[in-house]
């Protein structure tokens, strides 16, 4: 059962990583334009070179 001492902190920190990632997306306005963002990925403007 000593494995629990490892598994529980690991699973908790993985969950926390997910939570923090979500908080980051909320704070950086990534839900302001879900429809536009889903379309922008289709753009081939920057396929050949990155945006300057």
């Amino acid at each position: 059962m000593t494995i629990l001492a490892w598994l529980i902190p690991i699973s908790l920190s993985l969950g926390a990583v997910g939570l923090l990632a979500f908080l980051y997306t909320v704070r950086s306005n990534q839900y302001d334009d879900p429809e536009g963002d889903s379309r922008r990925i289709l753009s081939d403007d920057w396929d050949d070179h990155p945006r300057p």
Partner: protein, 724 residues
């Protein structure tokens, strides 16, 4: 919309080459782009805008169909809009100040973060709980309980704040809301669980408390989002009317915001423009359309000395006004303030959810208290009785009840939005479902505000002459006459020396005779109250062309459908008797009132309300605002004045009235669905509560009952949105 591929979008087949912009931090200009719908549109618009010198950054938001532009002060929104029109996109300027208010939805974001925290904690604690339910014992179980407590306590302290605050506010106002049993349930569950954990007991309710918080927050968030969407759409309508005016400074015209005007300023109003201030005409002759304020369709002659109010529309000639009252002092604003006082129609309405809470909350507290007391008297064991009381509270906790209303209103508002109806008020759907009488305004609501000629064929010989005189003018009657005569395929007569005399009509010469088309008084013809333009051919008596207002799209269908569904339909207009009677006859409305003043309208609506009739008021003018506010529920078209839209619960986005009848049906279906949801939630309780009182409920049963009822309720609500 999602099925459209990039290439399928008309108007933007060109491959974009230039860079899309980074996010716009400090947008000065906002444009509404109702026509964009694909990736290529985004690229083209951004490329077009970024190519303009002075534009620092431009970014399109496809969800809101809007472009935000950060530009140098010398770049004007009007030019950018014209540029985009040229590129093939419909573009309208938005008032950035009006939009700024909703730019960041801080409350929605906070709710979303709380929801995420509750979800994270619920998932982790549920994992630990599953191992306890599957047989973890002794030290392992205690450790799991302690870890659960360590996660649950801080997370609930953060995520549960909306409920705790709501409960505190309700208790301080000495009433019971749904938040009170929720908060009590959560707190009691946490307290007993913590106590159990210190005594290494079998059952802890940490997972139940967290799941409850999670589901309830989901309900809150849905509710908030539906309202935020409606609010942002309503604000966009307001922002479309950019308040600008032309000020005359010693003869020099300057374009200024309406807010910058002061009493005594000279303001130029061009034909087609709306008066920005209350004032006195000091120069120019014209006709003004007061229909939005008074409901009368007959244009009023304007000459120096006439007092005009903000909101009236100038029709034929340019007018110079001296401002008597500006901003909040204008009669338009004073009327809007009257509305705030008149707000009585819905003040005494109890939303279904509150009615439910009033019944439910005391019952829950009594049940829980009784089981605590009963078990304590029977066994003398405080720990056991507290455990059972907590179980009763958790199981009865209105988790499904919290979702019952928001899930339905979200689904129903979404469906109405697709039909072109914006629901602004949270309880508007419930109130609309109760409406049994519909009061319509005439001008601008049942009629489109564009006149139609009724007696074209009475003067067949004079039509070429009438066309020649009418086609040069922008007066609405002339425009309607031109359209009708052109449709007959008639060519204009050769009239010379054509000139428009603002406020009177058009004059010219034909075969040496002076010919005129215009007001009755100008021809020496009698005024008879009907909307008419008179034609003087130079010989004989002047000929009248009579007009009637064209019906708004879907007016006929809406009235017919409302009558078919057994509702009383009343026509209430500020216009004179003749046109109102004609219109009532056309639509088959028996109950009509003409020449009603704004106060009369409000009184009639209020009197109906006092008789127990639930009135749905549909109106667009300033003269309707008090009535809109006094009615049980109200709808105004998007073309209405800002004040009218503010006063009403719902806004029709399209031009057709047809969605009104649908909306009534959807609202009734939604209310039925809400009642069903309450029944489902109560049925679950009926099964689970006896178990809890008998002391047989375990955290596992609580978790199952809670999730199952919440999911059933949400699925039941979704049935409403799915059917088209």
């Amino acid at each position: 919309m999602t099925a459209l591929s990039a290439a399928a979008c008309p108007g933007c087949l060109a491959t974009p080459v230039e860079m899309p912009a980074p996010p716009v931090e400090d947008a000065r200009i906002a444009l509404s782009l109702p026509g964009i719908h694909c990736q290529a549109c985004i690229s083209t618009v951004e490329r077009t805008l970024n190519a303009v010198p002075g534009v620092r950054a431009a970014r399109v938001n496809l969800t809101l169909k809007r472009a935000l532009i950060d530009a140098a002060p010398d770049v004007s929104a009007t030019d950018l809009a014209a540029l985009l029109q040229g590129a093939g996109y419909e573009a309208h300027e938005l008032d950035a100040d009006t939009l700024a208010a909703t730019k960041t939805d801080a409350a929605g974001r906070a709710l979303l973060i709380r929801l995420a925290v509750a979800g994270f904690a619920a998932m982790n604690v549920m994992l630990l709980s599953v191992s306890v339910w599957s047989g973890a014992s002794d030290a392992t179980r205690d450790m799991f309980h302690w870890i659960s407590a360590a996660i649950a306590l801080p997370c609930i302290a953060y995520a549960g704040q909306p409920f705790f605050l709501g409960a505190y506010r309700a208790l301080r106002a000495r009433r019971l809301s749904m938040d009170v049993p929720i908060s009590l349930g959560i707190v009691l569950a946490l307290a007993t669980s913590l106590w159990e954990t210190t005594l290494s007991g079998h059952h802890a309710w940490f997972d139940a408390a967290l799941t409850l918080t999670f589901f309830l927050l989901a309900g809150r968030y849905l509710d908030h989002r539906a309202r935020a969407i409606a609010r942002s759409a309503a604000e966009e309508l307001t922002a479309l009317e950019v308040p600008r005016a032309t000020r005359l400074d010693h003869g020099v015209e300057t374009e200024v915001p309406v807010a910058a005007l002061k009493v005594g300023d000279l303001v130029l109003v061009r034909p087609g423009g709306r008066m920005p201030v209350d004032g006195e005409v000091i120069d120019g002759r014209s006709e003004i359309d007061r229909s939005l304020l008074t409901g009368e369709t007959l244009p009023v002659f304007a000459a120096p000395g006439l007092l005009v109010s903000a909101g009236e529309v100038n029709l034929t000639g340019p007018l110079t006004l001296r401002a008597n009252a500006v901003g909040a002092e204008t009669s338009l604003h004073r009327m809007a303030e009257l509305v705030a006082i008149a707000e009585s129609g819905r003040a005494n309405y109890t939303p279904l959810a509150d009615a439910m809470a009033r019944m439910y909350a005391p019952a829950v507290h009594v049940l829980s208290g009784a089981s605590l007391l009963g078990w304590f008297l029977a066994t003398g064991d405080l720990r056991l009785s507290l455990n059972i009381a907590a179980a009763v509270l958790i199981i009865t906790c209105p988790c499904a009840l919290g979702l019952a209303v928001p899930a339905v209103t979200t689904a129903a508002s979404g469906r109405l939005f697709r039909k072109g109806l914006l629901v602004k008020d949270a309880t508007a759907l419930e109130r609309l479902a109760e409406a049994d009488c519909v009061v319509f305004d005439k001008t601008g609501t049942l009629t489109a505000g564009t006149p139609d000629v009724t007696n074209l064929h009475d003067h067949a010989d004079a039509l070429p002459l009438a066309l020649a005189l009418a086609q040069g003018s922008r007066h609405p009657l002339s425009v309607a006459l031109t359209r009708a005569i052109r449709a007959e395929g008639i060519a204009p007569a050769a009239v010379t020396e054509l000139r428009e005399i603002p406020g009177y009509g058009t004059e010219g010469r034909l075969n040496g005779q002076t010919v005129r088309l215009g007001r009755a008084a100008w021809m020496g013809a009698p005024e008879d109250g009907d909307t008419a333009a008179w034609l003087s051919t130079g010989t004989g008596a002047p000929l009248p062309f009579r007009f009637t207002d064209a019906l708004r799209d879907g007016a006929q269908e809406a009235v017919a459908a409302l009558k078919a569904s057994g509702k009383r339909v009343i026509l209430l207009s500020g216009d004179s008797e003749g046109p109102v009677r004609t219109l009532a006859g056309r639509l088959g409305i028996d109950d009509w009132h003409a020449a009603a003043l704004p106060a009369d309208k409000a009184t009639l609506v209020r009197r109906l309300g006092e008789e127990g009739v639930r009135v749905l008021m549909v109106g667009d003018g300033l003269n309707d605002t008090a009535a809109l506010a006094a009615a049980h529920v109200s709808i105004s078209p998007a073309s209405a004045l800002d004040a009218a839209r503010t006063a009403s619960d719902m806004v029709l986005l399209g031009t057709s009235l047809a969605p009104i009848a649908d909306a009534c049906a959807i609202a009734r279906a939604a209310t039925a669905r809400i009642r069903e949801n309450f029944t489902i939630a109560i049925l679950y309780n009926c099964v689970a509560v006896p178990l809890a009182i008998a002391g047989l409920a375990t955290p596992l049963i609580a978790a199952l009952a809670m999730s199952a009822s919440s999911i059933t309720v949400s699925l039941n609500a979704l049935r409403l949105g799915g059917r088209e």
